[in-house]
Amino acid sequence: MKIPVVRNVLEANEKMAAHVRDTLTAKDILTLNIISSPGAGKTALLERTLKDLSGEFRMAVIEGDLQTDNDARRVAATGAQAVQINTEGGCHLDSNLVLSALESLDLDHVDILFIENVGNLVCPVEFDCGEDAKVALLSVTEGDDKPEKYPLLFNLAKVLVLNKMDLLPYVDFDLGRACNFATKLNKSLEIFEVSCRNGDGLQQWYAWLRRMRATKQM
């Protein structure tokens, strides 16, 4: 028997993501899905942000890692709510994992929820986790051809945070090339050059968070 179907293979995930999005939107929570390679500085960006904006927003973090709760402990040390998801080898978070993590958070006291995805520039991009926006994070110690090699992330992200700018003089990262290809993929991509180590440039990122949060409340 021939059975014609035409169904989106990711439909189960997307349905669940819509449910997560509705749940978080009903509580006015801005939700951001942070995606980068391993070691680009996702946890460092969060540590800085959680500390610097602690007086302004109530923030929570869902930490995705293959193993260990090291990152959740780093993030929780700032006083923010944190919940760890161990994917046990899984290369990405999906909306089902995020939904179950939400049960461990007190959502009535959260303004911004960060989802720190598993370090990987490919797989996490395919799986909607119910976020309002994807945040691409790239560090200058990586190749400047990342936007060319992993176009989908830069195509779908709302912002690109370029981290470790303090190391730029010591590496061969061509800033123009990376930004050029990233904006070719995404004309409206906002790019923030930052150093989570010395704090340079973070004010632009914070200003964007404030704008996004304000838009979410409207």
Binding site: M1, I3, V5, V9, C91, V125, E126, T183
Partner: protein, 117 residues
């Protein structure tokens, strides 16, 4: 790496459709992959074969239909494209605009049809 999750979803959907049609043996399954859907066809086939091994679906064959990339120019609206991911970097052949073309086709990841008994 996420091809295993994709293969699992595919099989789950195939099972749903077969139950609906009263079938028990899966013979063939067709999947459409867009040029930039992020799924590696060979890797998806390997994952699929691993999942069906020693199951009632062991004979099932996965067929892949590839869809080329189609872009809509962000300036003049012209539709253009090419076979692979490289087409993402093409300037618009009509007006030369280089930035921000909209992906009209290429992200597809679809289950198209099944043959089952």
């Amino acid at each position: 790496m996420h091809e295993m999750s994709i293969a699992q979803s595919l099989l789950q959907m195939a099972e749903d459709e077969m139950t609906r049609s009263g079938c028990t043996r899966l013979e063939k399954i067709w999947v459409t992959l867009g040029a930039i859907c992020g799924v590696e066809p060979e890797s998806l086939k390997v994952c699929f074969d691993i999942l069906v091994r020693d199951t009632a679906y062991a004979e099932a064959k996965l067929h892949i239909i590839k869809l080329p990339l189609r872009l809509r120019c962000s300036s003049c609206g012209n539709i253009f494209g090419g076979e692979g991911q490289d087409a993402l970097w093409m300037p618009c052949p009509a007006c030369g605009e280089q930035l921000g073309h909209v992906v009209e086709q290429g992200r597809e990841l679809l289950l198209n049809r099944l043959e089952a008994r």
